[in-house]
Symmetry: D3
Subunit: 286 residues, 6 copies
């Protein structure tokens, strides 16, 4: 974006909490038996983190924090910032300092980087696939338990948009909710009677008839579920810009362009966070 | 296995901790705005969890706990147990009880199930691919931060073996460690002088010459890194059953059978935990 | 509300976390020295919780959980539900069971009840003061650290609306933000370029000129800061229903009716959560 | 006090725990959407915290920690120390550094300051009201759940004394306890048989006859519950300096002076912590 | 004690927190590898916990909770209650139910029992050694980090008294504090100016001259540090019942009777909590 | 050891977690009442930590962290490193800086040092007792709940070996497990069918006949339970170096040499961690 602002960083509190939990998981009770037995406390080293495949980098704050939580003497230089697409073999960061901290922290740092870069890379591929259309790619709540904020950050890094972060920051009325209300109108009315003015409301619709009903109410967005591109086009026309239109269901790299060309504002893709393969990265001693 | 013992269950403490953290993440501060606005507190319902693709199921304990942590009145019946391969469209579980708990817990329950079943399914595919050989498929420490115990459980469910759970329960001497010791012999000696008698020692080797050196010491296993099948065969012959042989690096569904036929005991596959796509599952109200 | 739905309950996870933290705070390391010394383990009792002043009750779930976390044998009957206005001297709940749990839990249960009922009561007073106008009373982020979700629940119980729950669930552009962007248009554009489609955007304005500028952009609400009723009337007229109008600043029970009659949609009152006096309640053995 | 010692500070561990919990509550999963979208990472600023009403300041350590937990580059200068009464409009602190940390931390810092300064101010008002008498104003266990240590600190800052911090650091025998023992003598005997020599014992009495009974035992203090000033005078005379006398119940700014003049040592006021209105403070960019 | 009251129980919250932390420590990431591999999920068993040495039992609540946290189906019958001295070979409890929970929980249950019973037993020995004198045996703050509340409970179970539980529930002025105040009078005055009326004050003295100074002030107890029995006798005479007298330092089973016969009220023994050998106990399948 | 490597350090994360928990336990809600009342915030001091008995020092990292967690201005100089045997009266560390942090942290620092040095010292005594034999002294899982990693570190510092850290890092088949399998062969087969290749397997045997059976399987170690030295000698001869031999049960300083001379590889001693008396250490202001 031309205003010079980066994609928003993760807060340092969140980074620290996540890294410490991950290190505790890997160190267990007894710590790094191998490094402790072999490496002398004073030994220093430096190492490079390199890509082994092309991909969009995400997670540098977490990698840096992984080494520095073990030893604040470790220094970490970012060579390729989050959001940049790196070629295979590119050096993306350099870490220098106490050898024990670097070898002990290696796996934790890489586990964050390969997972988040994997998500950013897949997001980036989807974003590329709809280039030139007005559609934005966005994520869902189908995230790995415990990692939602990090994974949604990786989606932003890859050029995607975030959908809601939880059950509590936006309202999404689905079929199952409508079943309990009796009909779509009652569901929306119940929500309108209780929702804060600062909370957006989206309604899932499967048919144009449902969409027409929904458009009679004050809602912010409609989730067009599992519609064909032609069906979506008709829905977008019907919506006429009065609500945000989001396509969902059956989205793949094969189908996404046609969906985007149907004119929807957003396409949500669960795979971004639940099925992105890790980006292959490695750490080598310099 | 013919002795009637199941794959070991997850401890109830671990399940409860994981589920509560995941629910807190999804509920945020304000809870489920949509369900709370629409569903009456006393409303009851029942729902079925179904596969939408063929796969090996894992995570039933976590799914059950996701609903019951919200409301102990919820009942959960497992139709397809962990470790079973289900066809697309199969009903794998039924949940009954308070509608709010079922709709609020749905995503958390499914997020555990799709992630762990994805891992179990990919593991199962690898295990199938080496059927009839003596090789076992095993996982690595390349897991999603915070979920190692759950992901390693899913690997077992899929028929795989677990490698070490952390830096503290086994010793794995890698190239980087050897560099600090000066040579492979010194590295092994330092480890032998400090390792508990209850801790196994594995050494990474890249060449047959290194393997020959390692065989002169008391080690339990060797990690044969990035070797071709022919190379592996020679290594297995050289090892002569004196140590466990583990192939690692460059393993894919295309290459795994040839690697297995080289006669190694184990093949470790990082992708099992870092790149398994989610298994597509859904919950439908009955 | 005529649809029979209650004000949304607090999730049981949230209630349990809050109550356990409060009990740990009161029990310290050594527990209840007085009750442990005097009351026999088997002693049973029953007690009534009564109002000592007129007020709107809130927090019954927390009171019940306070006793039951100490001893699941304790039973708790709600006589007056959350959201009901009780006269002085009214019995609002009865608790029965192990005397130790009842005496030990008394202060924790009451501390939740008097604080949340105090907030609900003050909210109710403000809501009454604007009865017949179209204005809703809502809260702010000026809450007691650690208790935001509970205090916002009490506001709902008292008939108020909730504003955003944190920095992450809605966007509110204030003067200070505008200063960093350079002008109001740039601030809104930066936000629009990054905000999720599920996040609402509100902008603070001090003058009609600012309001006019803001109305040229896609924003959901405007916070009219510290305006007189006449000023507010003009702002409402200018807004013309295109955005939600929220009055803020200088709101008291003396001024709130005039503000409401200016036609704004919402009036936010920090005092609801930061300055509500406790509602006087007591527990007496039956 | 003339010995140059300040009112005891809060421990840095306690401050850090409280501040991090409060920031996590406000940042939620997604962080500060507004500041992240608008303010450039490198932007610097400075801001002043000012009173908008006369009051006794408390909580500077927490305000400072709120900014510095977000970014250690933030510097914080205390202009008016805890315990000082500031006039309306007074600058009480200046914060300088990264703009994001200052705008993101503003509400958390202020929420601590307005709540604790509110308590200190109300305490100070009560202390002033009994000036010249021998009575001390003290707090109770009627505190906001989770904030007891901070609120009791604010009472000290305002010139008040602390009563016990929990059920475990002192013994207070109330009517309800006596009911279970059968009579006051048995209750005291049971306590005497079990209480550590380092734990004080106070007994609640409603009548002079009860007081006379209690004076026959080894107790440290008596809580004179809901007595009129004349009644209190008689009780103080009867106690004759053998025990500490504490008046409790029905204390307000209207009645407190007369109660103090009855000669009691202490007057406990629940309102200090459960009903103190916040002190109005604001942060303005310099 | 003849009033039928037991030594105060541990709160269920404290027990649950301690037991879950201990189980998590023993189960690690992978759980009980041995039992999970060998025992079928449905297998039932029963087991007896027996003493292998004579001692005073403490910790039954923790033992029970250790099994039941793993599986609520486990039932636990206390045969010998906390505080009872059991002969070698005595059955002290029986546990019945799921075999996995019993074998997995065995070590955690026993670790609590052997540690706490060891403390209770040593305490009981000291209490016996001073039988017939007026001295009480009490503990110190020299406890194992993390276990203070449990260890102090075990001291009570063994017939001892508790000294303060932490730095915050009583005041103990030591030599080092006096050094900073300049002299003993200033130290006491500073404390008196700040201490809550519900907090006791003890002062450490090394000489009779110091004791004489201290007796001129309002203090509750004196700690007579490292005095001989003759010295102690003189101190007790000088104190004349005006303060509680506590002997400390150089206390062993050889010296404790002579110290008690010097007439002090209390004898504090650090060894009770920092050097008590475990009581030998074992679990055998029935 | 001649390679210049120290006994492995504790990870800084583990040290920090343990120290903060211990300080929170000692400070409670109100902090250090005595030091806060008497010592001026700016007061500086220095203090020496000295032995009062001969012993092997362990825990310096924890002592240092105890002071520095309270105030990072405190400096800590290690005079005698972990693993060194110090004579009575030796200065082992010096701490300098803010007097409040030093007096407040004193007990926490010493509680870690006296406990861990006690364990190291007892371990050292056992290690000395078997000097010249080929036996190593090792610990068990009979540790104090919550402190296993620290106590096992102290065992290493004293020259001992560590047995497994939990139920999850190695397999130990005991009598009770065999009972559920039916016979020893079935138990081992079940374990072999499930155990990771990186997990060692030990089997408890009571007789030579059992040992002979076990030697027919692939196991890593045998635990020879409660055998006499002659019995042990026969067992070692029978094992013939094919498995590690560990003697357990009935080990004391009187019996350990004879056991070692029977030729076993390891002697496990529960007393190292459950019954080591604290090493007497004190802190004196300089």
């Amino acid at each position: 974006m031309s205003d010079g602002l980066q994609v928003s960083q993760l807060s340092s509190l969140l980074v620290e909490d996540a890294v410490r939990a991950a290190l505790r998981e890997d160190l267990g009770r007894a710590g790094d038996l191998t490094s402790d037995a072999i490496i002398r406390p004073g030994d220093q080293t430096s190492a490079l983190i390199r890509t082994r495949a092309r991909g969009c980098i995400a997670g540098m704050q977490l990698a840096e924090a992984s080494f520095r939580a073990l030893d604040p003497q470790a220094s970490f230089d970012v060579v390729v910032s989050d959001g940049t697409v790196a070629d295979p073999g590119a050096i993306i960061a350099e870490v220098r300092g106490p050898a024990r901290a670097i070898l002990t922290g290696e796996r934790t740092a890489l586990n964050f980087l390969i997972h988040l870069s994997g998500i950013a890379t897949l997001t980036h591929t989807y974003v590329d696939a709809v280039a030139g259309t007005s559609a934005h790619i966005c994520c869902t709540r189908k995230t790995t338990p415990g990692l939602r904020a990090l994974e949604k950050y990786a989606v932003r890094v890859g050029g995607g948009m975030n959908h809601r972060f939880g059950l509590d920051d936006a309202i999404l009325i689905k079929d199952n909710h409508i079943a309990f209300a009796g009909d779509i109108a009652t569901a929306i009315e119940r929500v309108r009677a209780r929702a804060s003015h600062m909370v957006k409301v989206e309604v899932e619709v499967d048919t144009l008839a449902q969409l027409e009903t929904v458009l009679g109410f004050d809602v912010d967005a409609v989730l067009l579920d599992n519609m064909t591109p032609d069906h979506l086009k008709a829905a977008v026309r019907l919506a006429g810009g009065r609500v945000i239109t989001e396509a969902s269901g059956g989205v793949s790299l094969e189908t996404v362009r046609a969906i985007a060309e149907a004119g929807v504002n957003l396409i949500s893709v669960g795979a971004l966070t639940h099925s992105a393969p890790a980006l292959d990265l490695g750490l080598d001693l310099a």
